[in-house]
């Protein structure tokens, strides 16, 4: 699956980009006639983290050759678990992000809300554990890598 900056022809959309994420495009793209529910999750840049007040901006970097493929793995795993899903978008921003900017987007459509909520929740939780991306925080007291990090796991290890 190619990483597409514009909405793709198929039902899956994965993207890792330095550009602002196309949240509104992803939401409207996900609406299809057979689906009555669309859940959108956005992660945004917050002004604090554990022990770090006054966060000013973030810098995300990824393992470029594998980040998009991992997003695609997360998406494929969600489709296996919820075959009724309509369209699904997993988008992650890299590079410099200011406060309130959107760093990650999950959009999932389904015939009914339960599957859309469950799949979107599963996608963001699995993405955070399995996609090779690192966040560096700059706050009032300095700059360092995020302290809330976790050992990378395989998509197949995600809890059922």
């Amino acid at each position: 699956m190619p990483a597409a900056a514009t909405s793709p022809a198929g039902a899956d959309w994965v993207l890792v980009t330095d550009d602002p994420l196309p949240v509104a495009d992803a939401l409207s793209w996900a609406v299809v006639p057979r689906c009555g529910a669309v859940v959108t999750f956005c992660g945004t840049v917050r002004d604090h983290s554990v022990g770090r007040d006054g966060v000013e901006h973030l810098h995300y970097e990824c393992y470029e050759e594998h980040a998009s493929a991992r997003l695609a793995d997360v998406l494929a795993d969600a489709r296996r678990r919820w075959p009724v899903l309509g369209r699904v978008a997993l988008l992650h921003r890299t590079g410099h992000l200011d406060l309130k900017e959107v760093s990650v987007v999950v959009v999932a459509s389904a015939p009914h809300r339960a599957e859309a909520f469950e799949a979107a929740r599963h996608c963001i939780d699995t993405l955070k554990a399995t996609v090779p991306i690192w966040k560096r925080e700059t706050w009032s007291g300095g700059s360092d890598w995020a302290s809330c990090s976790r050992e990378i796991t395989e998509v197949s290890d995600a809890p059922r």
Binding site: E65, V104, I124, W145, R150, E154
Partner: protein, 78 residues
């Protein structure tokens, strides 16, 4: 010899994102990297996962010059 890829905090600690490192196995490549890049890198390495060509790798897997060994510290995407 393999291509070594250092990511996020590992890149920071080593001062470089890529290097060609001798070694016939993943473990030998990592041992050379530890010796070359010093104590701060060694600490990061201890808490990192290792991939070979995009998949988790064991130390005893053999590598050639077309292989990429990557050091992946704990991730923080999202």
């Amino acid at each position: 010899m393999a291509r070594l890829r250092l990511l996020g905090p590992a890149r920071d600690a080593a001062g470089t994102a890529r290097a060609d490192v001798p070694g016939a196995t993943v473990g030998e490549v990592l041992d050379h990297a530890r010796a070359r890049f010093g104590e701060r890198f060694a600490v990061v390495l201890e808490h990192s996962a290792t991939w070979l060509n995009g998949a988790p790798a064991a130390r005893d897997e053999s590598v050639g010059e077309d292989d990429e060994v990557a050091v992946l510290p704990p991730v923080s995407g999202g």
